[in-house]
Subunit: 406 residues, 2 copies
Amino acid sequence: MARIVKKFGGTSVADMDRIRNVATKVKRAVDAGDQVVVVVSAMSGVTNQLVAWVSEASNIYDAREYDSVVATGEQVTSGLLALTLQGMGVDARSWLGWQVPVRTSSAHGSARILEIETAELEKRLSAGQVAVIAGFQGIAQDGRITTLGRGGSDTTAVAFAAALNADRCDIYTDVDGVYTTDPRIVAKARKLDKITYEEMLEMASLGAKVLQTRSVELAMRFKVPVQVRSSFSDEPGTMVVDEDQIVEQADISGIAYTSDEAKITVRGVADRPGVSASIFGPLAEASINVDMIVQNVAADGKTTDLTFTVPRADLARSVKVIEGLQGELDYRAISTDSDVVKVSVIGVGMRSHAGIASRMFTALADEGINIQVISTSEIKISVLIASKYTELALRALHSAYQLDAT
Amino acid sequence: MARIVKKFGGTSVADMDRIRNVATKVKRAVDAGDQVVVVVSAMSGVTNQLVAWVSEASNIYDAREYDSVVATGEQVTSGLLALTLQGMGVDARSWLGWQVPVRTSSAHGSARILEIETAELEKRLSAGQVAVIAGFQGIAQDGRITTLGRGGSDTTAVAFAAALNADRCDIYTDVDGVYTTDPRIVAKARKLDKITYEEMLEMASLGAKVLQTRSVELAMRFKVPVQVRSSFSDEPGTMVVDEDQIVEQADISGIAYTSDEAKITVRGVADRPGVSASIFGPLAEASINVDMIVQNVAADGKTTDLTFTVPRADLARSVKVIEGLQGELDYRAISTDSDVVKVSVIGVGMRSHAGIASRMFTALADEGINIQVISTSEIKISVLIASKYTELALRALHSAYQLDAT
């Protein structure tokens, strides 16, 4: 007997047929003697409709009202799944965020879970009742409904797994696991059996949109074993686990990419102390996250070129901020480029293995791909390249690190 | 300054354009200095979709899950209206049943309101904030969401008006008031300026589906002045008030009809004491409401024919019950007729005026319409006739009681 949290995303509960499919999976676990907590998202498309109505209602954005409207999507699914389970003879009831309650911060639209009251759930799980939890939602101190932000149901699932000391948290989705890289681009991409929390965190934040970043952080903090698996098959998926549970660690676990960034180059800035601060300070004040940074000394030896990336959505705003600094900085020109992609190789193995970076640079050079910016962390090397090389770079790196399926 | 509860039904909030129309009406009242509580239904069609999903989910009917799913319709509308009001510069917030809270019985699907906590609402109304209440819903003792049954938002509105001592409860709907009879059938039907609670109760329960019966009972009990009016015009509607507020009372206020009943005749039953009880007892046990009853002594003087009406939806079940009594009752035959309509003339004036009934019988006889069953109450006379005469009967009676518009 195990205690398992199962989370089903929007495409897994998109209509009544799929909800029945979910119920069948849950029943099978119950029949095997497991205690089951199910966390559900809204039926796919529903949240978008609700958000569209809210946008139409008003420019004035009251996130408390937004949350109250948008949280109904998960409320509907939780009731429908509980009913479907009952119809199959499984004892089940739905729980809304405020009913559990899931206490959160009052940051409506992106609230953080503070506490989950589990006493009543514990009692019912022990008595064999399945708890069907409406994901993505909680209640603030003042009694208003909160939501956790897009993809928040993953966080709900991991938080319940942690609070209930579950043996595992299964995240059912429309892919069957975490891959070494995007299988739509690299045909030889392999499904990973295991990946560490830290690697998953980098994969998630770099655009492999399998799990919400926050849910991985939470899983890592509470050491919740998470399994990413398919709603539409019974194959085991990818286990996201602690590093010490992976015996033989490859150098590189995966290769991620993201097109969400844009490059800005500020040319001909005086090369004097404090120049970086006078650019990045105002950007930070404008809540713009600068990611990769490189500084070159120009040919004349007196000025410098500063290149960095910002979220693509913030590009126009960033340029405006820098233009406002012209008097102070006296730079020669600004140029921007949105046609870039950030490709990253990720692996906890690089901590103990040398030569990982040089293999990356060689592989890209062999294909004639120019690296525009480089940034590294302990378990990740990222390069910015022209977006037209995305496929070529991914395939070359996948081979270079011997990740190709045989 | 007045305190007004305004209730808007599903067609009045069917899309964002209509929600803006509602917000405009509310803003006008706020600008005039009124304290406003708005009660909203689900966008029309939404509740039906939710109910359809619930039916598809399971044959096993857990009304607690049903309520949790179906209550989301009003939750969405309340948030959208609050946002729309905010966008127009009106201070507003939404309130769900459990947030107020609206405490109800635990009869899920048709719960009764037990208590509404008003302290917080009072404070905010005094401060000028509009309360947008999700209608139709409450919370049971055990913390589960309840709903009040179809049309329950009317009841929510009247209950809030009573609890908050409102000066008036405006029920906005897709008709502009209560008519002397169905204007789709009788072109000369007139909109009434005023009608008494008791008359409205008879009209409501007899098929003039303007107000939910329970909401009228509640209004009568707490003497809440209710106005039935159109969402799509600014004309005054019909005031539903206490009898003493109507100075000159007509004999008859309105003529209602319903096709929801079917007639059963049990022929050749032995004419002995207790025979009625032995038929109507078992029907009551089967939760079948018998409405009109007439008993004729048959030609032979020893047996009797018993005719009565039951809800059309219960006809087959009723026949089965009576067939089960054959051994005990030894009747000759059962016949049924669904092609009947019950037409009722209604008016508190008939308490003090003689000749109301005979005028009805004469008018119908003049048109050659045979009366099958008659039943009366203090303020109502109902007759059962063949349904093909519906229009003819309504028009004849409307003229006979001088209700025709000039």
